[in-house]
Each structure stands twice: as structure tokens, then as C-alpha cells.
């Protein structure tokens, strides 16, 4: 019974859904306020979701229907599965040694599904967007993985719960490995395809990218999967870099966790508002010439100190 509660309500699907809507709203609101706009009311993301569900689902000619419908579902499923292993305020639906690796791989599945969505489509914008998303994947994924590996190396465990606990004895890994934290944030922006790394879906260039031909329910599921991926990604970073702390032990775990997650969300929103979009070759340069060597440096430094 407890397992089912954890799976479906907290910290499982229900909680994640609420967080996805909430984070989406906070994000839009923060960016709007930065740009001196008012921004949407709190129920807007939910309203968008429901409205999309009710919209006509246009079938694209020449696209395999099962594949087109399956890809968003696969994305959503993998994100939800990954969420099971990411603890929220010290509570996880499941946890075992090596779950960090599982989460990292599960979080890569949406990127591949996104690419495939473009690949199977006959639309040129989708195809170009798909190519771009794959190039982007190769640019951010390596530094992102290496940046997330450093905490594991230092904590001596590939279990997220252990890394969280390790920080309770030492201190936040964001303080020990500020470089790794920064790389992880950049990698997360790339992973979530947010501004300024929204290259695969840049409206002025490739219209809607791989999702140009999507509409209705499938689009709603895509959006939900992306919003949930944002939540899971942020939670993962909170766990790995802003885990338990001796100084905050007296405070209740859940609000503290929420505050940390919001802090990271704020960082992402600010990055969206403050930078122009990069070009795909600029991102590849950044990824391989700057981010990857820095990530390698971080891992080596960690091995040097930790080993």
C-alpha cells in the first residue's frame, strides 16, 4: 500500500504532475516579470494542458501512427521511471546502489525520442530539428554526465541517497565542486532544450522543430513529459549538489528541499531571460572545447582529492 502511495501520489506521479505545472508557471511568471510583463495566472499551465488534450489530433500523412503516438508516451514513461529513484526531501519511491546511472540513462531517453519524432516526420522543419537535437545531445550530454559523476566519485557511491547523506557529513557539493555544479546547470539547460539552448525548436529558424507536426493529445503528452523532465532534472541536481546539510538539520526537510529546487529553477529562468540563443555550431564548440575539458578537469580533481 505504501509502495503504491509512493508510486502514484508522493513522490510519484501525482506529486510530479503538480510540480510540473507549478514549475512551469513559476518559470513563465519569473521570465515575464524580468521582461516587465505580467505573466500568466497560476492555473495557466493546467489550462493549457487540458485545452491541448481537447484539441484535434491531426495525423500527419506518411508517419507511422504507432510511432508518432508512442514516442511521447515513451518519453513520459522514462521520465516517470527516473523520478522514482530521485528522492524528494529524503523520500524516494525506490533506491538501490547504482540508481544514479539508471536515472541518467532514463533521462536520455526523451532526447532520443525527440530526435526520432523529427526523423519519422516528412516535414523539413522536423527533420532539421531532429538533426539539431541529436547534435545538441552529443554536445551537452558528455559534460553533463561527467559533472554528475564527480559527486558520486567523491561520495564513493552511485546511489543518490548515499550522495545526499554524504553531504550531510561534509557540506554541499555545490560548494566543493562549484565548477561541476555550473556544468551540470548548463548541461541541464541543454537537456531541457530551454532558452538559450532551445536550438532544435527555435521558432524563427525551424518553426517547431521535431514537434512541428504534432498537435492535440500527443502534443499535450510531449509538453507534460518535458515539464516533468524539468522537475526531475532540477530535483536530481538538488540531491547531488545541494543535499543534506548540518546547518539546516533543524528545519523540516520538505520545505528546505522545495526552496533549493526553486533556487535552481530561478537560475534556469534567469538564463532564459538573459541570453540570446546560440547557434548549433557554437553550442558544439562550447560543449567540446569548453564544457567537456572543464568537466574532465573536475573529474580528475575529484579523483585526485577523493581517491
Amino acid at each position: 500500500m505504501m509502495a503504491l502511495y509512493r508510486l502514484l501520489v508522493f513522490p510519484g506521479f501525482g506529486f510530479l504532475f503538480v510540480c510540473a505545472m507549478l514549475f512551469d508557471w513559476i518559470d513563465r511568471r519569473v521570465i515575464a516579470r524580468t521582461q516587465e510583463r505580467v505573466g500568466p495566472p497560476w492555473y495557466q499551465p493546467l489550462a493549457d494542458f487540458i485545452k491541448l488534450l481537447a484539441k484535434e489530433d491531426v495525423r500527419t500523412e506518411g508517419v507511422h501512427e504507432v510511432a508518432a503516438a508512442g514516442l511521447p508516451i515513451v518519453s513520459l514513461a522514462s521520465v516517470l521511471t527516473a523520478a522514482l529513484y530521485v528522492p524528494v526531501g529524503g523520500v524516494a519511491a525506490a533506491s538501490y546502489e547504482g540508481d544514479l546511472i539508471v536515472v541518467l540513462f532514463l533521462l536520455s531517453v526523451p532526447a532520443l525520442a525527440y530526435f526520432l519524432a523529427g526523423w519519422i516526420s516528412p516535414g523539413v522543419y522536423s527533420v532539421i530539428g531532429g538533426h539539431r537535437s541529436l547534435l545538441q545531445y552529443f554536445s551537452y550530454e558528455v559534460p553533463f554526465m561527467m559533472a554528475l559523476a564527480s559527486p558520486a566519485v567523491l561520495a564513493g557511491s552511485w546511489r543518490i541517497m548515499s550522495i545526499v547523506a554524504y553531504q550531510g557529513q561534509a557540506t554541499w557539493l555545490a560548494l566543493i565542486q562549484p565548477l561541476g555544479f555550473l556544468l551540470a546547470i548548463v548541461g541541464l539547460i541543454g537537456k531541457l532544450k530551454r532558452d538559450p539552448l532551445d536550438i532544435p525548436k527555435a521558432k524563427s529558424e525551424v518553426v517547431g522543430g521535431p514537434l512541428t507536426e504534432y498537435s492535440g493529445r500527443k502534443m499535450a503528452i510531449w509538453h507534460l513529459a518535458m515539464d516533468m523532465q524539468t522537475v526531475v532534472g532540477i530535483f536530481l541536481l538538488v540531491n547531488l549538489f545541494l543535499g543534506e546539510s548540518r546547518f539546516l538539520e533543524a528545519l523540516p526537510a520538505f520545505p528546505v528541499f522545495g526552496a533549493k529546487a526553486l533556487a535552481i529553477l530561478l537560475l534556469l529562468s534567469m538564463a532564459s531571460a538573459l541570453y540570446a540563443r546560440l547557434r548549433i555550431d557554437q553550442l558544439a564548440n562550447l560543449g567540446w572545447r569548453v564544457l567537456a575539458p572543464l568537466a574532465l578537469l573536475q573529474v580528475m580533481a575529484t579523483l585526485w582529492v577523493g581517491g
Binding site: I31, P196, E205, A276, R277
Partner: protein
């Protein structure tokens, strides 16, 4: 990699106006481009022949959605030259004031569009927020935000008193702060520069060959500005600089345009400070003496030229309009050759297209 033909337009999020490009793309490289115009061709030149001189003012105000005032100004100057009318200085000042406000409006709008197309929504929002100040000034002056209906043959139909002038001067102070702040952002923001530097380069030789005008030409080092070179009243009494840059890329065009907006604020202030007293219009005849006239004006996008021929009736026999966008369009195949797919939006934004102007 296989070749793809990517359609940009007639409907595309990049273009707010209908213009069609078919880009042949290999990977992310554009190898060929074919352009199609005419989706908003309204036959305005033909329509002009069926309407009276006065009716044409309203028609020509609608050639362009942004620089509407400069079109009617140029047209009215041609008709006034044919009729031999001498305009009161106050009318010339008020016309110039609206022209400069329109220039600020156009450049701010353009900056927003460029920022939007490189994924920099914050600057888009800021530029368009500050543009509202200009629109407010114009609305208070004329009653219209974009189409002003200010010009009549023989002068203008608006006037302003001292209190109104002081209000505008105050609004201009605020506007100047905002535009200069934006100029600072454009000069120092690195991601914006990363997207616009070295993109869509036109050399001085290209600009001369294609007879390009306006900010695009000035950003390639060609120092032309009809306000100064044509010695038009009241600009011959004003002090202002014409920003010129020699890089020839979209970045240089951005700098030139935003600096021009700053200069235009200064110009507006000078015009208001030196506003002569007197009437704002003279009486114009209904029938215009036979003859032909050519007038040129510096619109926000560059030289606008009108040719008007009269046969002595109250209808013009021929009105020819050449808008600056047409000169920019002809450079696009060159600019689009061998650029990255992602830079197409930057190149197209960079020349400040107004398709309604070009098609007429």
C-alpha cells in the same frame, strides 16, 4: 548529406509579412535560395491614377505599416513642388518631427524583431515597451499610433501648444534614457554579438553595385543620408550625426540603427526647441498644374523616391514609388549564400524587410 528544400514563408514564424523563400539546405548550410515576392501586391501605383491628389494621401499612407508618414510627406512634397506651393516653416518642422518619431519607432520595432529572432525575448520586450513611448507621443499629436493622417497638400493638419511641447520634451527625456540603455546592451551583450557578427556581410562594393540605401548601406561604410545630402528643410538647420559603420554585418546594422534612434531623439528635441511660429498649412489648389516632379526622403529604411506626373487635372497621371526595401531584397540571394540555416533568420531580420512596402 542529402539536400532538403526548406520553405520559409509565405507563412513562417520568422516573417510577419508574406514573402517566400525556398532554401536548398545541405545539413545546416544553405546552398541556394529562391525568392518570391508579390503576395501583398495591391497595385497602389495603379490605384493612385484613379483617385484625386487628396484621396491619394490616405492611400499612400498605407503603403507601409511603419513608415507611413514619410510616404505621404514625400508625396506631398512632390505635389507641392508641382503646384509651386511654399510651405510655412512650422509645417516643415512638424513634418520632420513626425518623421523622426517614426524613425525611432521603426528602429525600436526592428531591434525587437531581431532580438526575438535570435531568441533574446527580453530585449524584444524591452524594445517594444520603450517603443510605446514614441507611439504615445505620436498618438497625442495626431490621434493615430501608426497611421497619422497628418499631411495635407500644403502643410499639416496638426498643431501643438507650449504645454503639449513640454509634455513631449519630458517623454523624450525618458525615451532617450531607454534608447541609450538599449544601445549599451547591444554594444556589450556577448550572445547577441555571437549571433550577429560576421553574418550577412555586404561590402562597400556590394552596396554600391546594388544601389543599397539607408542603414544597410551606412553599416557597410557608405555615408549617405538624404536628410543631410539633399539639404532638406528643416534638417539643414539641425545638428546631428549620421552613424556609419564599416563592418557591413548584421551587428553593424544593429549599431547603426540604434545610434540613429538616439540621434533622432536629439533631432526631435531640436525641432521642438526651434519650432517657428506661424501657420501650419497653406491653401492648395484642387487641380495641380501639369508637370512632373521627383522627390526623395530618408525613410527609416533609407531613400524613398516618388515620381509624380500631373496632366493638369485633379488626378495624378502617374505616381511611381520606390521603397528602400526593394534595394535590400536584391542583396538577399548574395547574403543567403552559404550561411548556416540558423543564420537565415538573422540575415532576414538584419535588412529590415517591409514586404508591404516592397510589393506596394
Amino acid at each position: 548529406m542529402s539536400k532538403l528544400v526548406v520553405p520559409i514563408g509565405p507563412q513562417h514564424p520568422l516573417l510577419k509579412e508574406p514573402l517566400s523563400f525556398r532554401l536548398t539546405v545541405e545539413g545546416e548550410r544553405v546552398t541556394e535560395s529562391a525568392m518570391r515576392l508579390g503576395y501583398v501586391h495591391r497595385g497602389i501605383e495603379r490605384l493612385c491614377q484613379t483617385r484625386t491628389y487628396v484621396q491619394n494621401i490616405h492611400l499612400l499612407e498605407r503603403v507601409c505599416g511603419i513608415c507611413s508618414h514619410v510616404h505621404t510627406t514625400t508625396y506631398c512634397r512632390a505635389v507641392e513642388a508641382l503646384a509651386g506651393l511654399e510651405l510655412p516653416p512650422r509645417a516643415l518642422h512638424l513634418r520632420a518631427l513626425l518623421c523622426e518619431l517614426e524613425r525611432i519607432h521603426s528602429h525600436m520595432l526592428w531591434l525587437g524583431v531581431l532580438a526575438r529572432n535570435v531568441g533574446f525575448d527580453t530585449i524584444f520586450m524591452y524594445a517594444w515597451r520603450d517603443r510605446e513611448i514614441v507611439l504615445d507621443i505620436m498618438e497625442d499629436l495626431s490621434g493615430g499610433r501608426v497611421s497619422h493622417a497628418v499631411n495635407v497638400i500644403g502643410g499639416v493638419r496638426i498643431d501643438l501648444d507650449d504645454a503639449h511641447r513640454d509634455t513631449i520634451l519630458q517623454q523624450l527625456d525618458l525615451l532617450e534614457d531607454q534608447v541609450e540603455w538599449l544601445l549599451g546592451v547591444v554594444e556589450h551583450e556577448r550572445t547577441l554579438q555571437a549571433r550577429t557578427r560576421g553574418i550577412g556581410v555586404l561590402t562597400l562594393a556590394d552596396v554600391r553595385r546594388y544601389c543599397v540605401v539607408g542603414p544597410v548601406a551606412r553599416a557597410s561604410g557608405l555615408d549617405i543620408d538624404l536628410r543631410r545630402d539633399d539639404r532638406q528643410a528643416p534638417y539643414d538647420q539641425m545638428h546631428y550625426e549620421v552613424p556609419v559603420h564599416d563592418a557591413g554585418d548584421v551587428w553593424a546594422r544593429t549599431l547603426v540603427r540604434v545610434k540613429e534612434a538616439v540621434e533622432s531623439v536629439h533631432l526631435c528635441r531640436q525641432i521642438l526647441d526651434t519650432l517657428p511660429a506661424g501657420a501650419v498649412s497653406v491653401r492648395a489648389p484642387r487641380r495641380i498644374p501639369a508637370g512632373e516632379a521627383v522627390t526623395r526622403s530618408e525613410a527609416p529604411r533609407g531613400e524613398v523616391i516618388y515620381y509624380v506626373r500631373s496632366n493638369g487635372s485633379d488626378h495624378p497621371a502617374r505616381v511611381k514609388i520606390r521603397t528602400p526595401t526593394l534595394t535590400s531584397l536584391i542583396t538577399l540571394p548574395d547574403q543567403l549564400r552559404d550561411v548556416a540555416m540558423a543564420d537565415v533568420s538573422v540575415v532576414l531580420s538584419g535588412v529590415d524587410l517591409c514586404i508591404a512596402c516592397a510589393d506596394r
